[in-house]
Symmetry: C2
DNA sequence: GTAACTGCAAAATATTTGCATCCTT
DNA sequence: AAGGATGCAAATATTTTGCAGTTAC
């Protein structure tokens, strides 16, 4: 991925918001910026802190909820009641997430990654069950912690 | 599965606790009973209510934590911050869970099932990542809701 | 009898809601 | 100007901790 100028990033953020019919506000810009800068997924707390203590916790809750609803970010479930959020690929939209990649949680650095190149497998279910979305979370050691 | 008498169940519960070096107390007995009676996984709230308003919320927290530590139950992550718990197979023990089955959440009845016969797939990770536990949660319509 | 477990109170956290004000369009 | 978004206060809900009393072994 080529390094982007600050300006390119700003444009990208703005277009992402406009495409989703959201007004372009400071908090939304900053939270999206965080997601773009950050490798891996972020928990609510990361976002609150990462944004430079600038805005209210309530705004973070509302902004994340809005982004999930619009398909801008998606939720990665974890076993410890601390869900994490990550950017969706561009083909997600309101009401329809299309994320078919798996997620990876490093046991060492505790980061969560979207492995966009690893597609969720087909799961053969017992008779009578029909599958919708498949969520895969692999836990292990990431490439930076080997 | 043959229907078990109340007595058989009581024996089973007691042996499960003793095998894990836990003292046999009322709350533990009742919570395990709930798990055995209940098809599918339970959230914290289900357990609190299900047990007949009998014991403290704190006891439920502590009991569930103990059971997870001992490998008696396992956690099923969800995307909505409401983790669920389900009984492990008998070969799990303290410090080592061996649950390789997938989980299924029904979008209609909202129950969560352990599909013990469906084994988690092998996931081919990018170079540099090494896999430990793989968690798969499939969302769809269960056999009772078709 | 001793260690382990429970229940209560209270603290610490996390999440949601209402409303007045401010910002984007 | 109008609708949407934010920030603050406060209401709820959730989870954790300390401790004294009770129970299992």
């Amino acid at each position: 991925m080529p390094k982007q100028s600050a300006n390119e990033i700003a444009v990208r953020i703005e277009s992402l918001l406009k495409r989703n019919r959201l007004s372009v506000t400071d908090s939304r810009r900053k939270i999206l910026q965080l997601f773009l800068e950050h490798t891996g997924a972020m928990a609510h707390g990361d976002i609150e802190k990462g944004a430079g203590e600038k805005f209210d916790r309530v705004t973070v809750y509302r902004t994340l909820q809005t982004f999930v609803d619009k398909g801008i970010i998606h939720i990665i479930p974890t076993a410890d009641n601390s869900i994490r959020y990550a950017l969706c690929k561009d083909d997600c939209g309101e009401g329809h997430h299309h994320d078919h990649h798996i997620h990876f949680v490093c046991n060492h650095c505790n980061k969560t990654y979207c492995l966009d190149d690893v597609v969720t497998p087909d799961i053969k279910l017992p008779r009578g069950y029909s599958a919708g979305h498949v969520e895969v979370v692999v836990e292990g050691i990431c490439k930076n912690c080997q």
